[in-house]
Symmetry: C2
Subunit: 303 residues, 2 copies
């Protein structure tokens, strides 16, 4: 295997581990970077090279896939102490997968370009299971020549690559729009299901009827079963929407554009996080309605 096929993956959480494993399966040499020893051990078990140093992940890599949580972490692993930008070679490609403001993505690409490092704005969605299967959806934008270069990496990671423009920025912008809707839909689903319970309806029956009706959403169908099962094991956490709707609202503020529905949904996630549910599944936003509205939620069966 030639060194042209070396990939660094930074962030071995549920999504990053899935990406890294998909790349290993596709035949790439993969160095995976995380701060958690457990994740590094698991990754080594899959045949990857573990490191705690972003600079090590960037050294000799033709591609660096950054699967961290937010803009701050993206900036740190690239430009912080021991950052990967110091070791990445000219002509290498960064795939920036965190959900970040599009302005941050643009600024990061400009900073990397000064070292002749290329970048694809590549926020991902699909969840841990699809990440492990190499079936993510990528809202991507960047120069066509960079896409050509990174084709094998994207093919290994993703089932669908939405090509949203020839510059960095539109990928993150469209992801921002998606997160507005996803965040509102989960909170609205919680509000609706909570009201149904308060009205004395069977939430399972309501769930089935809504899924077959005009009131349905992808998130309602996907997340409300967690409420019905009383299982708030984080699929994606409440705090992710504290952050992502925060990006949405910051975007609106910069553009002086009112977003009252997103703002109200954001308040519900903030309330959930403030009440101590921030690390639970995002559907735990329904606990705000329980705490204020006096309903009893389904509990996890202990079998």
């Amino acid at each position: 295997m030639s060194t042209e096929q070396a990939v660094g993956v930074i962030g071995l959480g549920a999504m990053g581990m899935g990406v890294a494993r998909s790349l290993l399966r596709a035949g790439f040499t993969v160095t995976g970077c995380d701060v958690r020893n457990e994740a590094l051990k698991e990754f080594a078990g899959h045949g990857g090279t573990p490191t705690t140093s972003p600079a090590e992940a960037g050294r000799n890599a033709s591609f660096l896939v950054i699967v961290v949580v937010n803009a701050e972490q993206t900036e740190n692993v690239l430009f912080g102490e021991d950052g990967a930008a110091a070791t990445l070679a000219p002509g290498s490609v960064v795939l920036a997968c965190a959900t970040v403001p599009s302005e941050f993505a643009i600024a990061t690409a400009e900073r990397l370009a000064r070292q002749d490092i290329e970048m694809i704005d590549a926020p991902i969605s699909g969840g841990a299971v699809r990440a492990a299967a190499g079936e993510l959806s990528v809202m991507a934008s960047g120069p066509p020549a960079t896409f050509d270069k990174a084709k094998a990496v994207l093919d290994a990671m993703a089932e669908t690559v939405h090509r949203l423009g020839d510059t960095v920025g539109p990928g993150s912008a469209v992801k921002t729009i998606n997160q507005l809707l996803a965040g509102v839909h989960i909170a609205a689903g919680a509000e609706a299901l909570a009201l149904a319970m308060r009205m004395g309806l069977d939430p399972k029956v309501v769930y089935d009827v809504i899924c077959a009706s005009a009131g349905s959403s992808w998130m309602f169908e996907n997340r409300m079963p967690h409420v019905l099962a009383g299982d708030y094991t984080p699929f994606s956490a409440v705090n992710i929407f504290v952050k992502d709707l925060g990006i949405v609202l910051e975007t609106g503020k910069q553009l002086t554009f009112p977003l009252p529905i997103a703002a109200t949904a954001h308040q519900q996630y903030l309330a959930a996080s403030g009440a101590g549910y921030g690390r639970q599944d995002d559907s735990a936003v329904i606990k705000v309605y329980r705490d204020l509205g006096g309903i009893t939620l389904p509990e996890k069966s202990e079998d």
Copy 2:
């Protein structure tokens, strides 16, 4: 044809006309009631008997299908001057299809029961096209014996009859939950698509990506094409959601249950109605964002 198969339909709007035509096609003798001459002429052309009198629609009818806009109209056509409750025979069945508070449905059923008139709580959804095809979805509840009696009528009207309980009330309660979600999803879709335009994104591209992503909803997919086409011919009007989210919020108030997201969406429909868009398609709620946020919406092509 025996008189047992006579049906009255009150309200020959887009939905009621579709229901009445489906019943004619199924072989029922149908008397259709409306105040608008044009609708009555159209209905007569389809082979129905037109009347402007609810009492006439109820006379000799085994079934009365009420497809009016709200609780007030439902009450008027049954119990107002020249109302149908005065002519309906004991043992006849009222199918109450308007979206109303479940408490109103319960009270109406009790009032009809004093005359031995039966009732099915039967709010409908699906839109005009599916109404005309006899493919509505009904969120229905009522006594099993009444369902048995009304089976042929429901079969003629609906593709799907959700049986939600053996008493009147749960049908309207589940419809309330559906309308909460439907109303929030249209307004959130408008908010998201408006922000996308403000960010300089192509709304058609965003629409396609969202429809394939976790941010999608039934209403986003169904209604946002009206925005993309610049065609606000009312499919269902802004004012319907002023009313239906009003029912949602009134329900929450009665139960002392906070519904901040529904309340915020309701404000957006109120704003749209206040700005003069109340009779336009519900997707015209996006014009609130245009008027405040300085975006240009797609315009209807004149070919």
